[in-house]
């Protein structure tokens, strides 16, 4: 099954789940990492968490019986593999992007 490319939202959610994190924490971290460019909406985040939990990319880290406690999530090994695969893809993109500047520069 084709897992990559990841959407920007999935990429950043996986990244911020390298350590246990909860919903609001994910939004804050993604906002900080992108300098406020990406602010995840609650609907987008909820849907992404549901999908990735179903696919086994992330899992619930703490199953608190106390409902007032926030639910923590963490990336799984499968999720980490997919993240690395995506990273490789992004590196390839970046490496190839250099060609654009080189060629554009040589024409001048």
């Amino acid at each position: 099954m084709k897992n990559v490319p990841l959407t920007e939202a999935l990429f950043y959610i996986l990244l911020s789940l390298r350590k246990p994190n909860h919903g609001y924490g994910i939004i804050r971290e993604v906002e900080e990492l992108t300098g406020g460019r990406v602010v995840l909406g609650p609907g987008t985040l909820y849907g992404a968490i549901q999908t990735m939990t179903e696919k086994g990319w992330i899992r619930i880290y703490s199953e608190e019986t106390d409902s007032r406690k926030k639910k923590l999530y963490i990336i799984t090994d499968l999720g980490a593999d997919i993240f690395r695969e995506e990273k490789k893809r992004l590196e390839e993109l970046l490496a190839n992007a250099v060609i654009f500047e080189e060629d554009a520069g040589s024409e001048n």
Binding site: T7, E8, A9, H22, G23, Y24, I27, V38, V39, L40, G41, P42, G43, T44, Y46, G47, A48, I49, S67, K70, K71
Partner: protein
């Protein structure tokens, strides 16, 4: 100063709705709840809240996880009505958007579209059942059936317009992801866009064929039970607008109870078996969806077996319903029948829910289950409503009155012409009151085309004549009322009715005191009831 108010508006465009909610909040009115298009509003600081809408995971329900998650985000769930969720957050917490990237926005609009597609298909079922109802012989059926069909059609068109609108939005969003917009769609393909072809065929076939398929299995169930009990099937009309079958040769009440119940049991047995066998091969989405739709509808036919005995316990019965006949013939306590029906319902529902992923593929289990719960509830409400409104299958009814100057004249009173379109068994009742003793009322039912006497009956004052169920073919019949005031009248009536000597309890009539003088009057009412 007013701090609360209610506003009524009907709108199923989620984006327009969100805009309106926010306009109201700007003006200092915060929506705090919704019920059937009526919005409760409370005063708030102008611009205190930002409102957003979402699509619920099921009908009228969101999961505990969703609730918790939104709470954590500082988002308040204002209301869950039907498939819609209204949410709000304090504006002081910053910009509030539910969906912030193209992909999840596409997912959301696709879900919204699916709601309209499923509900639109159910409206299609409404159109079909409306048409069938209009074709049946029940009183007022033509008007009601047409009205239901027209209303369902109108709603379907409104949904279709909404689906087309959503298709436009989705095409634009997909374009942003660099996907080629799909070619211009006609209304039918627009309605089903995003679904696989096989799914669409299964859906249409399921909705369109279900009424006939169910009727066939139902009547077949009766027939099999008759055969098993040693009777003979004399008529089998599963495809007439009001399906029925006739039989003879059963003795005792137990076999009758078996026959009554078999009509409901066979379709249930068939779908249970099909659900058990169904492995849900991905190669046959048509078959899966078809089975899904047909079983979803069939399951709801258990509901009357719960509602009708409850009505019976409350003292409302209708002797012409399968279920009432079953209660009568089996001698079972209504509570036992209710218990049995609830058990069957729960078992089949469990089986159905387990198979939802197989039958409906990617559609959320919760969504299908809540649609099914809605169907079951509706079936219950409709059954109860039909019962309490006295849903006897009255074909024709009216009053009659006749005054005779001189008793002793032979009198034909009133003739009512009946146009029977659907062959079947009919029973007529005549309730009458005659102002003097010594006068007899008579009724004759004649087949005009064949020129044959079908049935006759007569009685003294205040009594009721009830015919046994008589089989009437389609055609014209006349029901005539006679007032008989003398022995000569009696003889004349006997001649018209084709009574042979000894056919009737004629011996008693010789001693009958005719009191044949002075005017007389009969008044009464008649009712002709169709018994399926």
């Amino acid at each position: 100063m007013k701090t609360k108010m209610t506003k009524v508006r009907l709108n199923f465009d989620m984006d327009k709705e969100t805009k309106w909610l926010n306009q109201m909040a700007e003006q200092g009115w915060a929506v705090t709840g919704v019920c059937l298009g009526a919005y409760r509003l409370a005063k708030c600081e102008p611009g205190e809240y930002i409102y957003q809408m979402d699509i619920a995971e099921g009908f009228f329900c969101v999961s505990e996880g969703y609730r918790q998650f939104m709470e954590e985000m500082g988002v308040e769930i204002v209301s869950v009505w039907g498939p819609w969720v209204i949410l709000r957050r304090k504006a002081s917490e910053g910009v509030f958007e539910m969906y912030t990237d193209v992909e999840s926005t596409i997912t959301r609009y696709t879900k919204v579209r699916k709601v309209f597609q499923v509900c639109g298909t159910l409206e299609g079922a409404g159109v079909i059942s409306g048409i069938f109802y209009a074709m049946s012989q029940r009183r007022g059926a033509l008007g009601w059936g047409t009205a239901v069909a027209a209303l369902a059609m109108l709603i379907m068109l409104l949904f279709l317009r909404q689906i087309a609108h959503l298709n436009g939005i989705l095409a634009e969003l997909n374009g942003r992801l660099g996907k080629r917009p799909s070619k211009q769609e006609g209304p039918v393909s627009a309605f089903f866009s995003g679904m696989r072809e096989g799914t669409v065929i299964g859906l249409i076939c399921g909705v369109a064929l279900y009424p006939r398929l169910y009727a066939l299995l139902h009547e077949l169930g009766h027939c099999i039970a008759v055969w098993v009990c040693g009777g003979t099937v004399t008529g089998f009309y599963p495809f007439s607008p009001e399906p029925y079958m006739t039989f003879e040769g059963l003795t005792g009440s137990f076999p009758y109870a078996v026959v009554d119940a078999a009509g409901a049991l066979l379709p249930l047995a068939v779908i249970s078996a099909a659900l058990l066998i169904c492995k849900g091969s991905k190669k046959h989405p048509t078959l899966n969806v078809f089975l899904g739709i047909v079983s979803a509808f069939t399951i709801s036919t258990i509901v009357p077996w719960i509602v009708v005995p409850v009505c019976g316990l409350l003292g409302v019965t209708d002797s012409r319903e399968d279920i009432c006949k079953f209660l009568d013939n089996s001698g079972l306590h209504p509570a036992a029948v209710i218990l049995g029906a609830v058990m069957v319902l729960v078992l089949i529902c469990l089986l159905f829910v387990r198979k939802i992923p197989v039958l409906f593929g990617a559609v959320s289990r919760k969504f299908i289950f809540s649609m099914e719960a809605l169907t079951i509830t509706l079936a219950g409400v409709i059954t109860a409503a039909g019962f309490f409104s006295g849903a006897e299958r009255v074909f024709a009814e009216g009053d009659f009155q006749y005054t005779a100057e001189n008793r002793g004249d032979y009198m034909l009173q009133e003739e009512i012409v009946l146009e029977i379109r659907q062959p079947g068994e009919y029973t007529y009742y005549v309730d009458w009151e005659i102002d003097h003793e010594g006068v007899i009322g008579g009724v004759l039912l004649r087949d005009e085309e064949a020129g044959e006497q079908v049935h006759f009956g007569c009685t003294g004052n205040w009594l009721q004549v009830q015919s046994l169920p008589v089989f009437l073919d389609s055609g014209r019949y006349t029901l005539s009322f006679y007032l008989l005031g003398s022995e000569e009248d009696w003889a004349e009536y006997g001649r018209i009715a084709g009574m042979e000597a000894g056919d009737w309890e004629g011996d008693d009539m010789e001693e009958y005191d005719w009191q044949s003088d002075g005017p007389s009057k009969i008044t009464g009412s008649y009712r002709i009831v169709f018994c399926p």
